[in-house]
Each structure stands twice: as structure tokens, then as C-alpha cells.
Symmetry: C2
């Protein structure tokens, strides 16, 4: 078997997101909506707020009753009553020259089109108020359909539900909404050198870091990690674990066994599965070159480097966009990038996408990106890192003082 597939660029790997589809939708209570993804466009069933509403505490008036009012020449208005919160002011119709006391959120009576803030008024007695500032029609008021009109599309399919979208859906009366299910991601660690974390490692052995760090990144992306534990370097054991994970989850991550070294069985095992295509075997990305992507049935199965830092970078940069595809998101790249100035020259190889760990330091208001010291394989480099600097395939590095985008970690 030819292990040396043509190494793919990051763009070529990313274009393979089109090979996969979102998981099934489900109906959930809107109280669980935060961090989910809408599976259906949401339309306003009614106008919102539905009535003319005060946005300030003060006096509801007809704006024209205040025209010309100022501190030196206030308008005097007759107080026609007080509108209580939640009250329908159907007994009041405001005449010109009248005002009604109102609180933020209160419903304006007929005849009123604006609110004078309480700060610009002075109560003279129970029947009269002085107004020091004129208002324009609809000032300090939200009109009946000003937030959303009936049948407006308010949120579209594929939208990530932030707190405000959850609030809006609730406010529109959606007690339940249709979202995509939360993808379950299977995590398998392979390697004869890997031992469970509760064991004391002998020389040559190392505890299973990947199951825990990869699970963390999956949770960070609002999906559910399912840990399948450690599988020895044995093709039959690996096949059994992978088949089970494919059956039980929506995507599988196998860390270790993806390079061409001694006893790396991942590609062999994946190739032997029914209805399976190897889409990627090697990427021109560093760290992360020995990455495998297979399509098993309809599901993505990844072989990640066993090296803990490479596995984390590949997950964050390459795999999370595929997870976002499964989640049903419209926007697959949800990394946050901030610009910072490099504190020194950084070398890179042409024809390879490099991700360099950097620490962000604020110096006199200027954000500096300082490459993290230490060899690439050290987990402490990820601990000290605030972000990843991406260096493009077609450059040989970046010079000191270059201002570049940093992907936040």
C-alpha cells in the first residue's frame, strides 16, 4: 500500500468540509438554546414590541406640545394621569397640552407619540409639569413594529445562538425551537507507549494527555466528547474501537498512529473499513503534517498526530471547522483573530502553512506577539501561548515588527 499520498494544502483540506453534512435537527426548549445552531429560519409571529412603548422614565406627550421648550422658556403641560407598568391606558386620550406620567416600558396612550425624560421636567403641583426640552415625534419611544414586524425573518438557519438570540426567540414566544443536535465526537488514543493517567509511567511510557486536551477543545466548541480510552498498537483492536466509535458518534478522532513510523496502523485500519475513502493523508501544515482524514459512510474520521501539541493545533485549526459543519453552522471559521506586532523574526519553510505559538503582551497600548520559547513538542509551549500566528505557504517567514493576525487560543 502506498502510504505517500499527495500531501494536501490547508485550503485543499478545508474544501473537503463540503463532503460532510449537518447532523439531524431536534426540537429543544428555548431555555437550552444558548450555544446551539438554528436548524430553521425563525419568523416573527407578531409585531414586536406590539405597542408603542416608552424607553425612558418621564412623561408621555404629543411632541408638538413641547416644540420650542427650553430651560429659559419651559412648556407647561397638564398632567392627565399616570400609566402603570403593564397597564393598557385605554381610558386616557391625550389632548395637546397634556402629559401623562410613564415609566420605561410603559404603553403610551392614544394621542401621545413621544416621551420627555424625567430629567428635563419639574413637577409644579399634582396637575402641572414644566418641560425644559422639546422632543421629536417617536423620541424615547419604540413603535409597535419597530423592533420586528410580523412575518419578518428574525434569525436564519445556521445561526449560532448567542445570549441575545436566545432572548429574542423567547421574546417572540418561541418556547421551543428547532436546532441541530449537539454532535458527539469520539476520541481514541492509540500507542503502546500511552498509559491511563492514574498509572505511574515507567521510562518509555507517557500518560494519555490527548484524550483530555482534545475533549477540552470539543467542549470549547460546544460539542460532546466521548472518550474511548487507549488502544494498543494492534490493528484488530484499533479496528474494533474505531468501528464502535463510528457507530456511536458523529465524528471520530484517533490520536497517534497517523505518521509513517513504526507501528502506525491508522491508515491501514481506516482503508480496511467498508464504504470508506481516505481523503487526506498528510497536510503541508506544521505542526500537524501526519494528519489523516477518511470519510467512513457519511462520517469524518481523523487520524491525528500522537504528539500532544500537534494534535491540539490540528484540532483547533483544521478539525473544528468540520465540527462546525456537522453542527450546522453557516460560518465554519469561528476563530477569533487579533492583530499584534511580532517581537522578532520568525523563520518558516515555503510550501508549508506554519502555526507558531505566541504570547500576547500589551506594551504601552501596543499588542505584541512574542513567540513562545521551547521546542515544538513541549506541552508547556501551549500553556504559555495565548494564540497561534499563521504563516502563509508562500513566504519564508515574517520579519520583526510585522503586524499579523493571531488566532486566539
Amino acid at each position: 500500500m502506498n502510504h505517500f499520498f499527495k500531501v494536501k494544502t490547508l485550503e485543499e483540506v478545508m474544501s473537503l468540509t463540503k463532503e460532510f453534512s449537518a447532523v439531524e435537527p431536534e426540537i429543544i426548549p428555548v431555555s437550552d438554546a444558548f450555544s446551539r445552531v438554528l436548524a430553521k429560519d425563525l419568523f416573527a409571529k407578531k409585531d414586536m414590541p406590539g405597542f408603542r412603548r416608552a424607553t425612558m422614565d418621564g412623561y408621555a406627550v404629543a411632541a408638538k406640545s413641547t416644540f420650542g421648550a427650553s430651560e429659559s422658556s419651559p412648556a407647561w403641560l397638564d398632567i392627565a394621569g399616570t400609566i402603570l407598568m403593564g397597564e393598557i391606558p385605554d381610558t386616557i386620550t391625550l389632548e395637546p397640552g397634556q402629559a401623562v406620567k410613564i415609566s420605561t416600558g410603559g404603553m403610551l396612550p392614544k394621542g401621545a407619540d413621544s416621551v420627555v425624560m424625567v430629567e428635563y421636567t419639574q413637577l409644579i403641583d399634582e396637575t402641572c409639569v414644566e418641560i425644559y426640552k422639546s422632543v421629536a415625534p417617536l423620541q424615547h419611544v419604540i413603535d409597535a413594529s419597530e423592533d420586528f414586524a410580523r412575518q419578518d425573518m428574525v434569525l436564519s438557519k445556521g445561526t449560532f445562538i448567542r445570549p441575545q438570540e436566545a432572548g429574542l426567540a423567547a421574546g417572540l414566544g418561541f418556547t421551543q425551537i428547532e436546532t441541530f443536535k449537539i454532535p458527539k465526537i469520539g476520541i481514541i488514543s492509540t500507542g503502546d507507549e500511552i498509559i491511563p493517567i492514574d498509572q505511574e509511567p515507567l521510562p518509555g511510557k507517557i500518560r494519555d494527555i490527548n484524550s483530555y486536551s482534545l475533549a477540552g477543545f470539543i467542549k470549547e466548541a460546544f460539542a460532546i466528547p466521548i472518550i474511548y480510552g487507549i488502544v494498543k498498537d494492534d490493528p484488530d483492536a484499533l479496528r474494533e474501537a474505531v468501528e464502535r466509535a463510528i457507530k456511536e458518534t458523529d465524528m471520530v478522532l484517533i490520536s497517534g498512529g497517523s505518521s509513517v513510523g513504526t507501528k502506525d496502523y491508522t491508515v491501514e485500519v481506516l482503508s480496511s473499513l467498508p464504504d470508506t475513502q481516505i481523503l487526506v493523508h498528510g497536510m503541508s501544515v506544521s505542526p500537524g503534517k501526519p494528519t489523516i482524514l477518511a470519510k467512513c459512510g457519511k462520517k469524518p474520521v481523523w487520524g491525528l498526530p500522537g504528539q500532544v501539541v500537534s494534535a491540539m493545533v490540528v484540532l483547533k485549526i483544521v478539525i473544528i471547522p468540520f465540527l462546525n459543519k456537522l453542527k450546522g453552522l453557516k460560518k465554519l471559521d469561528r476563530t477569533i483573530k487579533i492583530r499584534a506586532k511580532l517581537t522578532r523574526n520568525i523563520a518558516s519553510a515555503q510550501g508549508r502553512r506554519d502555526f507558531v505559538r505566541v504570547e500576547l503582551v500589551n506594551k504601552d497600548g501596543q499588542l505584541l506577539a512574542q513567540p513562545v520559547l521551547g521546542k515544538s513538542g513541549l506541552i508547556k509551549t501551549m500553556i504559555h501561548a495565548d494564540g497561534l500566528l499563521e504563516i502563509n505557504d508562500n513566504v519564508e517567514g515574517l520579519e520583526k515588527d510585522t503586524v499579523a493576525d493571531i488566532i486566539l487560543l
Copy 2:
């Protein structure tokens, strides 16, 4: 009772985080560590990785056996064996002129101090390999204590546990760690105009958006919202709900009833509670002026504006740092700020901190911040917003083309 407290600046309010302390610690499994906060410094119990380890697939060698090797003048080394993953190579001691086949993660035998990458070698026969590139001592190798040495402090109290920190703790053999508990945050909506979301609002009534949007922001900050529902504008009912929430949670948010309008009972009710101090009644922050902070026993209790947008902005900007204090975080401001160029002039009042909702638009590689259209009270302004532009107290606005920090939403 004097409702007009001296209005506080944002800095004055923020300095009050010192009045509150972190919640209790607890021991949790490391598999649940992501998004928690360390309650105790973590020290390495052993060297990590604990043995000299290959970071590349190739041949373990004594570096000096490769000195001078190049494509035109390769070094020929005798193959002394193969080291399997997880194997202790105690039967091999490498002599000068010898090489041992090794995979990433393998343990180097005695006598070897570096690894030649397989890409720079050519197998001649079973006993001999050609080396095309020299290596330096410790190249492509992680030494026994190079990641962490025994007794190093690896993570400090108050650290937010990202995926990599969770992986590190697991790799160091901490199956359980001491973190702060996850704070529970009580949420109460008040107002006679507020109805449950499953009811059809009559004119003057509005569905309870705040319980859902505020709960979302609490979840986003990795805490647990407890929703107490809607309380009418009635001091006794509010007192009862607040007392219960204070007893059952670590911080309480009361939305609505915080301004000086008709039927705003929050400050009255809070003032009547035993062992309670009103710390803030009004902030020079917009939106969000009518915000109340009380210290009830040891717990923060907030009165937020009922207006949905103001409530969200106050929660995100002002209250989350207090939540971070309760969570035990060292760094209380965890907002992410990115720089963008304003697309137009934005007015602001001196003596007031303004938070303006902006949409971020990428135009030819330049990030633009475009103020969201629509009145401040419209929830759609939060839906269209990607971030908040902060305008300082001492300026009267910002000019078009100013490059400013935007707090991501």
C-alpha cells in the same frame, strides 16, 4: 429615603469587586476541568516527559556521528536495532557510528542524544542507513525534564483551565484537581408588564426576554443560571423572591425595578434586608445608568435595568467581572477586544461611559466598525451587533476613521 445616590463611574463600580470573594473550592475529576478555575497551585510531581523522547520519526543517533553529513557526503551508520513505542531500550547502548530506528514519542537508548528525521535518510540494507543531514545534540528530542522538572509550579491558583491546561494536569497524573465551585446565579424578572413567554401578550405587556438572555450570558461565562421567574411590582413578593434567591445562589440579578420611575421597588426591598449595604445606585454608563449593586451578607445582588438591551450590556460589561471574582479567576476582565476603524462619527456625552453596538465588516482586509442602526432599546440592535465600542468618559465622541477597541459580543 434618598433615591439619588451619587452616580458612580465604571471604574468606581469595578473597584467594588474587592468587596467580594471566590466561592468555595471543591475536588473534581480532571475530565471535568475544562472551563473551571484552579483553586490551588499545581506542582509537577515528577519530571515530564520523564525520559529522553524522540519528537520525529527517524533514527536515534549520537549527534557527533552525523557531523559533516550532507547530500553530497552522507554519513553511513550501522543499524543497531529498532525501538518500539513504549519500549524501554535497556538492551541497547549506542556506539558512535551506530543508529537505531525510532518513532515519534519513542525513548532514546543510552548513547543517543538526537534524532535524524527519516526524510534525511536512505536505507541501504538491513544493517546500514545513509544520513544526509547532520543534527545537533538534543535535536528532535525532548529531554527528560525539558517540559517540566519535578516540583516546578506548572499552573497557578486562579488560572482558567483551557483544553491545554486540562491536558497538562492529566499528563502530570492529577486524576482529580481542586477548583472553585461553579457559581450559581439567580435571575429574577420584575414588572407588572412582564408575562411568561408561553403567554400571548396583550397591549402593554411584553414577554420575559431578560430571563433568557441573561441566563445565556451566565452560561457563556461558564456559570449556572437559576431562573426564579417573574415577580409582580409588589415589594413583599419581591422581598420573598430575593431572600430565597440569596439563600440558594451565589449572586442575584433582578431585572426591572432599578430606576426611579413609578413602582420601582428594588432599592427599597434591598435596603430592607438584614446585613445589607447599597454599594451602587446609578452608574455614569450608557446604556445601564439605573443599575443597583448591594452587598447582602457576603453576596452581590444587582438591580438591572428592565430594558432588555441595557440589561445585557450591564451584565456583559459590569457584572461578568464580579462573576469572575466569584469564580476565583485572577484576571477579572476576560472580554476579547479587537481593533477596528469607525465608519462614521459617533457622538457621546462627556462624563459618561458609552457602549455603542457595532457591526464588524471586513473590507479589503481592514476591519470596520459600523454603528448598528436603530434605537438603543431595540433588541435587534443586539442581534445585528458583533461588538461594543467603548467611548471614554472624558471625550465627546469619536471621529470617523478612528481605530478603536471593540469588545466582542
